[in-house]
């Protein structure tokens, strides 16, 4: 990306600005960190050894890993189910065109911003610290960021759905519950389902690693293998995680494609 001159002036300015900023920030930061060359060399010498151990993949732990994977998937599934129920109502409370109490909506919005700023891993860490290790802590910790995410997505979708349907329901004298269940929800069902599918994908990716902080699932096993230098089953574990996430990505893409296809009809 260095010094490629192009005639276009504003492009040139942007480039100089940005590349300059990157270079100016990079060097002080790089030297500030004082990366140790010897540590780097030692590490490089380790790599063939560890790679060699990882190559000797063993299937001994396969049942355990599958059990862990299923637990991870279940944690994600339950989290999403519970979160969808909560955030469905919260979304109608905070969406600007359906909010019953505007002040309450504002407060909830602010709380959501704060919840979303804290990384998911830290929520789970807090849950583990308060109610102990296990899948329950995983679900509890994940619920906060998931509810925050889904509430925001849902409320955005409700806002986008426009005023027409809301006015129509109000005009015939429908109350708030009619508005929610007979007005907006049927129209937005596909949009909601698509975002739920997307959210499930993200949550699974998160539960897989959450075992590392003690929230159950396959991550616990991976963490154990790594800390005991037991690299033989680790490769299998990583492979299982990779295949799961890959398949999930493909499935949700397919679901979203189908849902959006149906939505356009």
């Amino acid at each position: 990306m260095k010094k490629i001159r192009i005639g276009h002036k504003s492009t040139q300015r942007q480039q100089r600005w940005f590349v300059g900023l990157m270079v100016i920030l990079f060097f002080p930061c790089f030297f500030y960190l004082k990366l140790d060359l010897n540590q780097f060399k030692d590490g490089l010498h380790q790599i063939p050894h560890i790679a060699n151990m990882m190559m000797q993949m063993s299937f001994d732990q396969f049942p355990d890993l599958m059990d862990g994977l299923l637990t991870s998937l279940i944690i994600a599934f339950l989290t999403v189910v519970i979160s969808v129920v909560i955030s469905f109502f919260l979304a109608f409370v905070i969406a600007t065109n359906t909010a019953p109490v505007p002040l309450l909506a504002k407060i909830i919005r602010a709380i959501i911003v704060i919840i979303r700023t804290i990384p998911v891993t830290i929520w789970v860490l807090l849950a583990v610290a308060s109610i102990g290790f296990g899948s329950m802590a995983g679900v509890l910790g994940l619920i906060f960021p998931t509810v925050a995410f889904l509430t925001r997505v849902f409320s955005d979708q409700i806002d986008e759905a426009g005023k027409d349907i809301i006015e129509a329901v109000k005009a015939v004298g429908g109350g708030w519950w009619n508005l929610v269940f007979n007005g907006v929800t049927p129209q937005l069902m596909t949009a909601f389902l698509a975002s739920i599918a997307f959210n499930f994908e993200i949550t699974v990716a998160e539960t897989v690693i959450l075992g590392i902080v003690g929230a159950g699932g396959i991550g616990v096993l991976l963490q154990e293998y790594i800390s005991f230098y037991d690299f033989k089953p680790l490769t299998l574990g990583i492979l299982i995680v990779f295949i799961t996430l890959f398949l999930l990505e493909m499935t949700t893409n397919l679901i979203r494609l189908r849902l959006s296809g149906r939505g356009h009809k």
């Binding site: 990306m1 192009i6 920030l25 780097f40 560890i50 329950m136 990716a205 995680v241």
Partner: protein
């Protein structure tokens, strides 16, 4: 118009999917021995923990966290710059218009998806084993993850570019590098800036949790204080983290508005 039979079939289909869903929930609850009573009673415990053990944050030792904050920022900058260089290289090799050979594109796509789909904390823990505790595994895992992420989004940004400019240059007999220089790069710059800034945000968020596996940054303070049960110090660190993330989001937003 739908016939009665079609309506009936639709209804049946819906009922079957409800039943399957219910079965999945029941199975899940049974499999991880999830008890609702315990879970519901867990929520007050959690909130109680949050508001009594955790809050208020202990503000007295704020200066001692300056070092980890600077570390985290430096990780973010170094990892973003290096990942964007690697990502650019891979991105150009991967994008349909700029790839030298379709086979390279397929192979790289597979490789990058492997990089991306293995969770970031797993990379970090493996690198901690290789390089030992410290800032090195943290930075390397950020770079590894970041190059995968950036290569993919850069390639997508390049593929989204209108093909008119490249076709025009093709027609004039421009070479490969000339095409990249005069057609691809000018159109790609906004996407590049935007995604690189986003990567910086991501790396700040990520380096906050890197410490949990022993890879340095502000996350190590979170782990340290929690292991010592000094929860009000943990909340100080988390507050710093929130402020840091918000400030960085605000700054990147401003830069984006000015440059694009």
């Amino acid at each position: 118009m739908q016939t009665a039979a079609a309506v009936k079939q639709k209804k049946l289909k819906r009922n079957v999917s409800y039943a399957l869903f219910a079965a999945a929930v029941v199975f899940s609850l049974w499999y991880i021995q999830f008890s609702f009573s315990e879970f519901i009673s867990g929520i007050p415990i959690f909130l109680h923990f949050l508001f009594t053990d955790f809050l208020p944050p202990k503000a007295s030792d704020l200066p001692s966290y300056l070092q980890p904050v600077l570390d985290t920022l430096a990780y973010g900058v170094v990892a973003t710059v290096l990942a964007s260089i690697i990502g650019l290289l891979f991105g150009f090799l991967m994008a349909r218009q700029t790839t030298p050979h379709p086979a390279i594109r397929t192979v790289l796509r597979g490789f990058i998806s492997l990089l991306r789909n293995i969770p970031f904390l797993v990379w970090a823990s493996i690198l901690v084993v290789i390089f030992g505790v410290g800032s090195m595994p943290g930075i390397f895992s950020l770079i590894l993850f970041g190059s995968g992420f950036l290569a993919r989004v850069y390639a997508e940004a390049i593929e989204e570019i209108d093909s008119h400019a490249t076709e025009a240059l093709d027609a004039m007999g421009a070479g490969y590098l000339q095409k990249i220089k005069h057609a691809v790069i000018p159109a790609f710059i906004p996407g590049f800036i935007s995604w690189t800034l986003f990567m910086f945000e991501l790396s700040i968020r990520a380096s906050s949790i890197l410490g949990l596996v022993g890879a340095g940054g502000i996350g190590s303070q979170i782990k340290l204080t929690m292991d010592l049960f000094q929860y009000n110090r943990t909340s100080t660190v988390i507050c710093i983290l929130i402020v840091m993330i918000l400030v960085i989001e605000f700054m990147t937003k401003r830069i984006r508005e000015r440059l694009i």
